[in-house]
């Protein structure tokens, strides 16, 4: 298990370096005059050259990247070109918001999708068909349309929730729950749909195995068979798809945060992209990559724990 963990960790670090290198190169090799963009059309050539020098844009790309990497390793992701705030501070102030959306959505999705998937696989028939139709519908409707519908119904027509904004839990726990409810529901529906389908298929496969018949013949209760034995075997594919859904949720959060004016990483990435604030964009790329790699590592560990055979693959 330790070897397995070390191997996965090293792979993760290598991936992080590759991702950051690619992102850095893409951002700086677009051919745009970064200093000119920052200073505007009225800036003199001298002012543009000075700014380019201050930002190190006159240095070779490789030395700029190594400088950035050196800082990043020590936790220094540079400063925003607009406003001068340390990138890490900006990321930290936004990270909690996005993670609360995505993690809560993932947990809710996992619970509901497992329930639906198991229910459909065990009951089959009409229940199965209804779950399949709901899953198909949930997966087919884009989350921004769901968000729009939720806002129109629950925020504007019924006034149960505020249509936009975010309240920090430290300011008001009730306010925080209210402010994340609609974004979480908008994110969750598609995630439930995809995950429930996977769990249903895995459960149906597992229920057909010989060992299930053996367990039943030993007189184990159906609940014990389904939840203690079959679900554990079927959990692997479910976990894999949940990891993928988590990554998808991070992407979905960009749109949802914009729609609900929630100050998370998604809205930060959009505003910094519009402004061309490369240090912040790089920070967002790195932090999202770390989260995605970390989640995949956790899923690998969980898979290994559930199924020792997975550790050698």
């Amino acid at each position: 298990m330790v070897n397995f963990l070390v191997r996965r960790l090293l792979t993760g670090i290598a991936m992080l370096i590759v991702i950051s290198t690619l992102a850095f190169s893409l951002l700086y090799l677009t051919g745009t005059d970064i200093a000119r963009n920052l200073l505007g059309d009225n800036a003199s050539v001298q002012a543009v050259e000075l700014r380019a020098h201050q930002l190190g844009l006159d240095q070779p790309l490789i030395s700029r990247y190594l400088d950035w990497l050196g800082g990043a390793v020590h936790g220094d992701l540079g400063k925003s070109w607009f406003g001068g705030s340390p990138v890490l501070d900006l990321l930290v102030s936004r990270l909690g918001v996005t993670l609360s959306l995505v993690v809560i959505s993932t947990i809710i999705s996992a619970v509901i999708a497992t329930g639906l998937g198991v229910w459909a696989a065990v009951r089959r028939g009409a229940v199965d068909r209804v779950v399949q139709i709901l899953s198909l519908g949930g997966a087919a409707i884009p989350n921004y349309l769901i968000a729009l519908g939720l806002v129109t119904l629950f925020a504007i027509n019924l006034a149960w929730f505020a249509p936009t904004g975010y309240t920090r839990p430290t300011a008001s726990l009730g306010g925080w729950v209210a402010s994340i409810t609609l974004p979480v529901v908008a994110l969750t529906i598609g995630c439930i749909a995809g995950t429930a389908q996977q769990i249903r298929s895995a459960m149906i496969d597992a229920l057909r195995q010989d060992y299930v018949r053996t367990l039943r013949s030993r007189g184990l209760s159906e609940r014990s068979v389904v939840y203690k034995h079959v679900l554990r075997n079927a959990a692997g594919p479910g976990l894999s798809v949940l990891a993928l859904q988590f990554v998808g949720l991070l992407g979905g959060a960009v749109i949802i945060e914009q729609m609900f004016a929630v100050p998370g990483l998604g809205s930060l990435s959009v505003s910094s992209t519009i402004q061309g604030d490369i240090p912040v964009i790089m920070g967002v790329v790195v932090i999202v990559a770390v989260i995605v790699i970390g989640v995949n590592l956790l899923i690998d560990v969980a898979q290994g724990w559930l199924n020792p055979k997975a550790r050698v693959s």
């Binding site: 729009l148 504007i156 936009t164 729950v177 209210a178 402010s179 004016a261 100050p263």
Partner: protein, 509 residues
């Protein structure tokens, strides 16, 4: 297992109840009955920096006029009124402007606001590379006369100078703050509000508190001011429909009825004209356009009212002139100088020797409504003018300035006569790439630049008539600029700015 399920269910119910009752955490209590306790504004832009060397006008204006006072202000009609300066006067040559300053005002860091601070600020601005640098294009120097008097010397008369002092050139920040490491995020001014950095989420929500020592008691300052940034138009519309903001810009005409239904008042001004610029008036690359009859034919060929209805849902005023309604040069009857008359257009084209038609190449870009471009193409084709569009992407402005196209669609600001002239009429105007020059125009421009207000106004009207007669442009309409506000808030639209300055937003009496 069952007990755990029950517990989870209870937690869920509690959270749901908290959610339903905790709405007050995110929604905002409207300023009822003109209350001065809190004002919440929706914004469609964020400040890149609070340093006045950064970009500080246009849709970023309110962030800056919350924390910085300007030397001068303007009322809703565009009339210049006192700000930090109580009086102002020009010398006879109109190149030396003397300002008398309020005495005894301090910046929020305790530094004194005086003539030395004004000189330092204007100098600081001129040394910068702000996109607003054109504010100071004619400023040659600044001099401290005494602590309450300052002189600004111009290289040539600038009829816009007083306006510039109501805008970024006129923002006054504490010179002591410029070396602060947080100068970009922690502004220090004399303004009505102070940025509450602890409650501000940069790029999302900007929180302000009333400046406890604010000097100007002539208008009301709210106890707290919050500016929420909406990058997404749908989010802004939702916030308006949910009553979460007291006032905001609303450029989505199709949603305006929904916003009104949610209880908002609509405030309108007209700052820009939209239409075609017929640039190659001497026929440098397109000889046909050198003939005034061809240019007039283009004016007659366009169904402006139809396009206004189709594209802008009637949120504008049909016109044939480029001098805006709030300027001295505006002549009402010129709005109808060129009606929709395809027959007359064909007649003029035939008289100009183009009975078999002619071809124009216009630049296009994704930012321009494609239906609009198609409609223009169709209506000009109806009179025999074939329009070919070339997609120039992000090079739209640079290609126009580079005289690569003889004509183009454009939206231009027209909030003062001199601005209109320097944007589109003077020989060196940004949008006079073919350097069209006429002696009669030059004479009128000289009067507009250097004459008294009355003489300049009369010259602007005469110039306007000439430009319309000569069909230098084919304007379609003045565009409504809309700012919505709750009934408890009194908004006065600025004559030269897309959103109202902070001092033009008041609790209703």
């Amino acid at each position: 297992m069952r007990r755990r399920t029950l517990a989870l269910g209870l937690v869920g119910a509690v959270l749901l109840a908290a959610g339903c009752s905790g709405q007050g955490g995110t929604s905002t209590d409207s300023t009822a009955g003109g209350s001065t306790s809190a004002l919440i504004l929706g914004q469609t832009d964020i400040p890149s920096t609070f340093d006045i060397q950064g970009y500080a006008s246009g849709t970023k204006t309110q962030y800056f006029t919350a924390v910085y006072d300007t030397l001068l202000r303007q009322d809703g009609t565009g009339k210049i009124v006192p700000g930090l300066a109580t009086e102002w006067s020009y010398d006879d040559s109109r190149t030396v402007l003397t300002l008398t300053l309020h005495d005894g005002i301090t910046f929020t860091d305790g530094a004194a606001f005086d003539a030395a601070a004004v000189v330092a600020n204007i100098d600081h601005f001129r040394q910068s590379s702000t996109p607003d640098l054109s504010n100071a294009a004619y400023v040659a120097g600044e001099t401290v006369v005494d602590p309450t008097h300052v002189q600004i010397t111009l290289s040539q008369p600038d009829p816009m100078m007083l306006n510039w002092l109501t805008q970024p050139l006129g923002y006054m920040s504490s010179p002591d703050s410029w070396d602060n490491p947080d100068v970009a995020t922690n502004p220090v001014g004399t303004g009505p509000y102070v940025l509450d950095t602890s409650a501000t989420v940069v790029g999302s929500t900007y929180a302000f508190k009333k400046n406890p020592t604010y000097w100007d008691t002539s208008y009301t300052v709210y106890d707290t001011l919050t500016m929420n940034y909406y990058a997404d138009q749908t989010a802004l519309l939702n916030a308006l429909q949910g009553g979460q903001v007291d006032a905001a810009s609303c450029s989505n005409y199709s949603a305006l009825s929904q916003v009104q239904s949610a209880g908002y008042d609509v405030n309108t001004s007209q700052l820009d004209w939209q239409g075609l610029m017929l640039l190659d008036r001497d026929g440098a690359i397109d000889p046909a356009l050198a003939d005034v009859r061809v240019r007039q034919a283009i004016n007659y060929a366009i169904d402006k009212a139809g396009i206004l209805t189709a594209i802008l849902l009637d949120h504008g005023t049909v016109t044939s002139q480029i001098f805006g309604p709030s300027t001295a040069g505006y002549v009402k009857e010129l709005d109808s100088a060129y009606g929709y008359d395809p027959a007359k257009a064909k007649e003029l084209l035939a008289a100009a020797g183009h009975a078999n038609g002619l071809t124009l190449t216009l630049p296009s870009t994704a930012a321009i409504n494609s239906s609009l471009l198609t409609t223009i193409q169709q209506q000009l084709a109806d009179v025999g003018i074939t329009v070919n569009y070339t997609d120039v992407g992000t090079n739209f402005i640079s290609d126009l300035m580079g005289a690569k196209y003889s004509a183009s669609w454009m939206q231009l600001a027209t909030s003062s006569d001199w601005q209109t002239a320097t944007f589109a009429i003077t020989k060196d105007a940004l949008f006079n790439p073919f350097k069209t020059e006429r002696p009669e125009v030059d004479a009128l421009l000289t009067t507009i630049q250097s004459g008294t207000d009355e003489a300049a106004g009369a010259a602007a009207q005469e110039l306007n008539r000439y430009i319309v007669e000569e069909a230098w442009f084919a304007p379609f309409y003045f565009v409504d600029n809309i700012y919505v506000s709750k009934p408890a808030v009194k908004v006065t639209m600025a004559a030269d700015m897309v959103i109202p300055y902070m001092y033009l937003i008041q609790p209703k009496a």
